[in-house]
């Protein structure tokens, strides 16, 4: 038994070491640049793929391939990201939300690129850098060599960071920048150079973690990226500050996760223990985001407002074009119509992001979870597996599923009352991942499910018309959230939360409301997505897909309902019309470039047109010369009457 415990602990060190490397890299980058790099996992994934390509396909020697991947490509990715994406953002004074979207864009871009280059199939043949042969340590303990190397890599990297910060010039500069960035600049330190080094080092650790982890799993674009993203927990748990704390947490969680597999509880608790054991980093992430609500949240006032133009532009032309495009599939062949069924359903899901983020100003990366819950509940209700309820007709199951998911919006709405920016993004993402792992992946919920289309709508054409009707209804409801008293209150909350509260807007209640409406909309779209495919498929609601959806909406303009519909068309159209991954690549590139067209594509286009048509009224600093004599007289009269200057 004792030896089994030791063996499991050693096995746990493998994943623990990778997590520790991730933690070190994320913290160093964050301290040097202020950016929490959500693309870390994708860099790990791409590096692992590249290593496999070099060794397995092009037959490079493993050593040379590893050196190229780890010492050139991975750090190079970091430097390129810094130069092309993050330095321009920092120079513009971009806030948390914009930087967050940029990291998401990089994530989505790399995932899309990997899909295109290597396909979505899982690869089990990633070469190990070190053989797994056992070696006997002086104490008589037998350890696999690769475990030893992994552990050694963490120790070397951690000690190297400590030594560099202590004894080198760049280390002094890093410490100065971390301590007091402004003062470091005033002392002549080039903070940009320090940031570039931080990016290069962070990407190097990502590559190392990916290369070390990949042999243990089957490599696919989603899986490794998400796994590394989950290990972000150790950096968050260490307050994005302490390297020893991150390394310690990583190893403890890794070992604990491994030890849990040896636990054999009663049959009833078995699935839960297994699920927790397999996903301990997700649990750690949840705990850390709930225990440490302040991470990066400071100074994030108006965070999400930066993603919108806040302009109530409506575009009849845009909507008409959109309607035509949506009606076109009705004339298509059966095969193409089947693919088009996803568009209205996805559009309704994306509208939930418009409501929560675009109108309400709350960053929510977990909407895929609500969409999945909608599909799952609809399937469970109609299959009769929903906690003792009899099987329901699909016409009843659909609205009931939506009504059941709506209050679950409080799961993310309640944390949002006290969190902002990065902290809220992490919290909603962690909840989304948790739902995916602890609900969608559990046979307890998903076994024996059938999901059919409502009676009389089983044909693709009829179902498509039904979807269009529901999309129209959803758009009308969403429009009500953008106008009138409710729209103004939401916009006020988004633009200046404290100011809105000071004006009497019940901010906590309004946030819960926005999240509940968002959850309901996502659930409706998700249920339709499931019905269109006649099954509940957890892969449709993968958390990584949720990140892609969020990025797609923001790219089009977070507060643009038209943009959400177009984004749905773009995502489905690109992937079915070309190769899977193209849509992610396109969205990723656009998200990375978002700094060039703040407010999103649709808003930018509309604004341009508007400006061409009628010049916008300039700022009120109208110099006197612009006023006619009559105008000046009027102004002076008004001034003296009200006792106010300009």
């Amino acid at each position: 038994m004792a030896s089994l415990t030791v063996d499991l602990a050693l096995a746990g060190i493998a994943v623990g070491s990778a997590a520790a490397l991730t933690g070190i890299g994320l913290i160093v980058t964050y301290r040097a640049t202020g950016v929490l790099n959500l693309a870390h996992g994708a860099i790990a994934m791409v590096t692992a793929y590249l290593l496999r390509q070099l060794v397995v396909v092009w037959h490079w020697p493993t050593g040379a391939a590893a050196a190229l991947c780890l010492l050139v490509v991975a750090p190079g990715i970091g430097v390129v990201l810094d130069l092309l994406v993050f330095r321009p953002l920092a120079a513009r004074g971009a806030g948390t939300a914009e930087t967050l979207v940029a990291t998401l864009g990089v994530f989505v871009l790399l995932v899309g690129a990997a899909f295109l280059a290597w396909g979505g199939d899982a690869r089990a043949d990633v070469p190990s850098l070190v053989s797994a042969r056992p070696v006997t340590l002086p104490g008589g303990l037998s350890v696999r060599l690769d475990t030893l190397v992994q552990f050694g890599a963490v120790a070397v990297v951690a000690l190297a960071v400590a030594a560099v910060t202590r004894w080198t010039r760049i280390g002094d500069e890093l410490r100065a920048v971390v301590d007091n960035r402004r003062l470091a600049v005033l002392r002549g330190i080039d903070a940009d150079r320090v940031a570039a080094v931080g990016w290069a080092f962070g990407s190097f650790t990502a590559g190392l973690a990916g290369v070390l982890l990949a042999p243990y799993l089957r490599l696919d674009p989603y899986g490794l990226s998400l796994l590394v993203l989950e290990t972000m927990a150790v950096a968050v748990g260490a307050g994005m500050r302490s390297l020893p704390a991150a390394v310690f947490t990583a190893l403890v969680v890794g070992v604990a996760q491994s030890e849990l597999t040896a636990l054999h509880p009663t049959a009833a608790a078995q699935p839960l223990v297994q699920a927790v054991g397999a996903n301990l980093f997700v649990v750690a992430l949840l705990v850390s985001v709930f225990v440490l609500p302040r991470i990066g949240g400071v100074g994030a006032e108006r965070a999400a407002a930066a993603l919108t133009r806040g302009r109530r532009t409506t575009s009849p032309v845009g909507w008409a074009a959109c309607a035509v495009v949506l009606l076109l599939p009705l004339g298509l062949r059966a095969m193409d119509l089947y693919a088009a069924l996803q568009v209205p359903a996805l559009a309704i899901v994306l509208l939930s992001i418009v409501v929560v983020t675009g109108y309400g100003g709350q960053i929510s990366l977990g909407q895929a979870g609500y969409a999945g819950l909608g599909a799952l509940f609809a399937a469970m209700l109609s299959s009769g597996t929903f906690f003792g309820l009899p099987p329901l007709d699909e016409f009843a199951a659909l609205p009931l599923a939506v009504l059941l998911v709506a209050p679950l919006g409080l799961l993310t709405g309640w944390p949002a009352i006290r969190r902002r920016g990065l902290a809220l993004a992490l919290t909603t993402f962690a909840l989304g991942v948790a739902v995916s792992r602890f609900v969608f992946a559990q046979p307890f919920f998903t076994s024996g499910l059938v999901l059919n289309r409502p009676r009389g709508l089983s044909g693709d054409r009829a179902f498509y018309v039904f979807e269009l009707a529901l999309l129209t209804a959803a758009l009308l409801v969403v429009r009500n959230l953008h106008r009138g008293r409710l729209g103004r209150a939401l916009a006020a909350m988004r633009d200046h939360e404290q100011g809105a509260a000071a004006a009497g807007v019940p901010v906590p209640r309004l946030k819960l409301f926005a999240f509940a409406v968002g959850a309901a909309s996502a659930a409706l779209g998700g249920a339709l997505l499931g019905m269109a495919g006649r099954a509940f498929d957890p892969a449709d609601f993968d958390p990584v897909r949720g990140l892609l959806w969020f990025a797609a909406v923001v790219v089009m303009g977070a507060d643009s309902a038209l943009g959400a519909v177009l984004a749905a068309g773009l995502l489905v159209g690109l992937d079915t019309g070309t190769h899977e991954g193209v849509s992610a690549l396109v969205v990723g590139v656009l998200a990375v470039l978002l700094g060039r067209f703040p407010g999103g594509l649709v808003n930018t286009v509309l604004t341009r047109r508007e400006e061409r048509g009628a010049p916008r009224a300039g700022p009120l600093v109208a110099p006197d010369a612009v006023l006619t004599a009559e105008g000046r007289r009027v102004r002076d009269r008004v001034r003296s009457a009200s006792g106010r200057g300009p």
């Binding site: 407002a305 919108t308 133009r309 806040g310 302009r311 009308l476 409801v477 429009r479 009500n480 959230l481 009138g484 008293r485 409710l486 103004r488 209150a489 916009a491 006020a492 988004r494 633009d495 200046h496 404290q498 100011g499 809105a500 509260a501 000071a502 004006a503 009497g504 807007v505 019940p506 901010v507 906590p508 209640r509 309004l510 409301f513 409406v517 507060d559 009224a617 300039g618 700022p619 009120l620 600093v621 008004v638 001034r639 009200s642 006792g643 106010r644 200057g645 300009p646």
Partner: protein, 247 residues
């Protein structure tokens, strides 16, 4: 007569530091009360305790005699306690008129039925009175000509007026102003002073936190100085006529 706003024994500590230490303060109707003091004297924390963004460690806040200590900021706002922000709270995504309208609309609470009605697009009650209040506030602050402009691109002086108009549109009984002259030039600050005097003459209770002692001398009826979290006792405006520096 009870003061529209009164604080009794307000103390606020955080991290072992006492920012406000047992402060009693009354803000009477029809007068401008000013709060001065150095950075770190506790003015901002006291201000936050009064308007509800911070809950004091101990002590009570009364609004028209009602204990509002446990009410959050938005609830106090609907009871007639309005505030402005040093860093300007305007909603850049809305037009000038919509900014003001947000203030006018909140006298009536946004309840669950109201949210549901808004969701399905039913008109909200009290629309016409909110519209009238908006128009009046825009006129009062000379914003009639610019009401359709988006608040994003306006200069500081205009934004101050937008914020003030939004606040006034909710017809408050008490107005707390946090450095309202920050970012204004000389003329704008003087014009602001005239508006504040006019509001006091109209019966409103005003509390002003301000560094600009000229403005304080010109508009305040009572000046309280804060230091080390305590109130050092009031002085009438007349006492300062000699031109000695009020610290």
């Amino acid at each position: 007569m009870t003061a529209p706003l009164a604080a009794r024994g307000i103390t606020h500590r955080y991290g072992g530091f006492t920012a406000v230490d047992g402060v009693d303060l009354s803000v009477p109707a029809g007068r401008v009360t000013a709060l001065v003091g150095h950075n770190g004297a506790g003015k901002s924390t006291l201000f936050d305790c009064l308007c509800g963004t911070v809950r004091p460690t101990s002590g009570r806040v009364f609004l028209a005699g009602r204990d509002v200590t446990r009410l959050p900021d938005h609830a106090r706002a609907r009871l007639g306690l309005a505030r402005t922000f040093q860093q300007l709270a305007v909603f850049p995504g809305l037009t000038v008129e919509e900014n003001v309208r947000v203030g006018a609309e909140q006298r009536r609470g946004l309840t669950a039925p109201g949210l549901a009605a808004g969701l399905i697009g039913l008109p909200q009650p009290g629309r016409s009175s909110a519209r009238a209040a908006t128009r009046a506030a825009l006129r009062l602050l000379d914003l009639g000509a610019s009401h359709r402009l988006r608040a994003a691109d306006l200069p500081t002086g205009t934004l101050r007026r937008v914020e003030l108009a939004r606040v006034l549109a909710s017809s408050p009984t008490v107005l707390l102003l946090d450095e309202p002259a920050a970012g204004l030039d000389q003329d704008e600050a003087e014009a602001l002073g005239r508006v504040l005097r006019a509001l006091a003459a109209d019966g409103m209770a005003l509390l002003l936190v301000e560094h600009d002692l000229d403005l304080v001398q010109r508009v305040a009826d009572t000046v309280h100085e804060m230091a080390g979290g305590r109130l050092l006792g009031p002085g009438g405006a007349e006492e300062r006529e000699g031109g000695g520096e009020v610290r």
